[in-house]
Amino acid sequence: MNRNVRFAIAKTHLLARKKQSAIAALGVTFGIGTFIILVSFMTGLNGLLDGLILNRTPHIRIYNEVKASENQPIDLHPQYKGGKNMVTSIKPKQELAGIRNAKALMSVVAKDSRVKGVTPQVSARIFYQSGNILLNGNAIGIDVLEEDRLFDFHQYIVGGSPSDLANNDNGIILGAGVAQKFSLHVGDKIQIMSSTGQTYKLKLVGLYQSGLADIDKIQSYVNIKTAQRIAGESGSYFTDISVKLFDIEQSYDLSKEIERSHGINAVDIKTANAQFETGTSVRNLITYAVSITLLIVAGFGIYNILNMVIYEKMNDIAILKATGFSGGDVKRIFIYQALMIGIVGGLLGLLLGLTMSYVISISPFETEALPTVKTFPVNFNGLYYVIGSVFAIVTTFFAGYLPARKASLIDPVDIIRGQ
């Protein structure tokens, strides 16, 4: 009963000053709207940048490094033990470029519960040949479908598709830089020469563009068998093993375990991309700082407007109190008004945020590094909308509550006498 009366008074107050109420609600709308737009856009961009590295790079790369033996013969000789041994011009060990017993190693690693997938690579040095011209290059043999499943290989492909390579043993996905130099298009043939001088004719089934011009001028992808043939090695020859984990945070631990138990080099993504890690945390920090600042600014704006609304109503407060409304009634009347402003403004803010985010998400965005991305990335995460609505209601409640409480405590006489 009483609540209905208070509610009716609050509604009348709001509707009697439509312009002022609208401005107050718009303050909330813009605060919440810009918060959602910025957070969605910034986290979208961050996700894109993170994905550039995280989705495409193996979490652990297993390989054989060419290096000198750590235990030189002189260290083992009892006569020189304890002394300082200096040997200059140590030569690296003579070793196979491939990983020893790679298939067994892969099946062991793949059985680990932390591992999402394992796929091998064969790297072979080649020359691209066009008439008399030879260009230095590098052919990487991959299991295309696994590579695509684990590392989004298709994101690099600008012409053709990964499955075209899987279906064609004599196919090649050529670096875009090489294709440009030789004026080649998908469907054309290209001749390549191995380091031993043998030539192969391969069909161009796709173009590869990483965004790094230096790589695109050199690198091409073929099937594993083709690469092994070019390298002149057997079917058990693999130069790299890429491992993807379910949880990237475990990559360091697992890489160390593999190194220890298999006596091989394994590098985790964070060690290999230390600068990326810093970039990500800085970007996240900026996102948090900007969104918190936005919410604080919006909060003060809302508080200011509601404060003004209530102080302009001092006369009405005195009248209501003189005719028998209690301080609690007055307080609730103004909190209702604040909440109505908060709910309407907040809903419009969510709508504004969603609309603008959508507009951004369909705006064209072309970049060399991301041949498959055509529009700006936006993160449509429901959580931001929940944060936005909770914030709108909590802020308007307190922004209304503080001045309303003050108003509720005032003696009507103080207002009437002050006239």
Partner: protein, 241 residues
């Protein structure tokens, strides 16, 4: 006829019943220096009595009225309304007392500008909540008709003339059928024609509805027509007439 007079005489002392009584009320203003603005105020108002308080500006009559109307709680002494001690009640209880038992008419009408005339009159009734909204509306229209402003019911309060506003304010004061109506110079802002209309409304109220009236004024004409005049000077009551 004779028997009726006899009946009146038989009533015990103290009847007709006391509606409002002030017992030894003192009031100090402490800012900037301590000044006593009310000294030993002691009086009472009976049911149906029309009392006016007179005095020069600054003699404390408005201050007294705000204390009596429960809107000012910073005083010493005791205030009783309908045999109930009002002094010391909480703000919420005082609001309820004001709402149900006291009607207040200010010098300036003090209507809520955003609301229609009818809503202004209805609000204290809806707050009381003893009647359904339909009954409150019916009563409000009744009061407006009684005060001859029923045709203005749907207008906003700001669209009315001064005399009309004051009549609406009186209708609002009446909506919960209070025991007592208090006025702080309710005719002070009106021309003589409107002032006399308001006076006759008050007179009718006390005679026909038995409502007590306590009106602060410095219009001697107005005061002279009331049942009793309480005269104040320098914070004290100097005479009852």
């Amino acid at each position: 006829m004779e028997s009726k007079i006899k009946l009146d005489c038989d009533l015990p002392i103290g009847e007709p019943s006391v509606i409002l009584s002030a017992k030894n009320i003192q009031k100090f203003f402490t800012d900037p220096v301590s000044i006593q603005v009310l000294k030993n105020i002691e009086f009472s108002v009976n049911a149906g009595e029309f009392v006016s308080i007179m005095g020069k500006s600054g003699c404390g009559k408005s201050t007294l009225l705000y204390i009596l109307s429960t809107m000012d709680t910073q005083y010493e002494g005791e205030l009783w309304l309908m045999n109930k001690k009002i002094t010391g009640l909480s703000g919420k209880e005082l609001s309820a007392v004001r709402n149900e038992h006291i009607g207040f008419v200010f010098q300036f009408h003090y209507l809520l500008p955003e609301f229609s005339v009818l809503d202004n009159v209805k609000l204290p009734g809806l707050k009381l909540g003893k009647l359904s909204p339909e009954e409150v509306e019916f009563n409000a229209m009744e009061k407006l008709r009684m005060l001859d402003v029923a045709d203005q019911a749907t207008k906003k309060a700001t669209q009315l003339s001064g005399g009309q506003k004051q009549r609406v304010a009186i209708a609002r004061a009446l909506i919960n059928q209070p025991a007592i109506i208090m006025g702080d110079e309710p005719t002070g802002n009106l021309d003589s024609k409107n002032a006399s209309t308001v006076f006759s409304i008050f007179k009718d109220l006390s005679r026909e509805l038995g409502t007590s009236l306590l009106i602060v004024t410095h219009d001697p004409d107005f005061a002279s027509k009331t049942d009793r005049i309480i005269e104040m000077a320098d914070g004290e009551i100097i005479s009852h007439r």
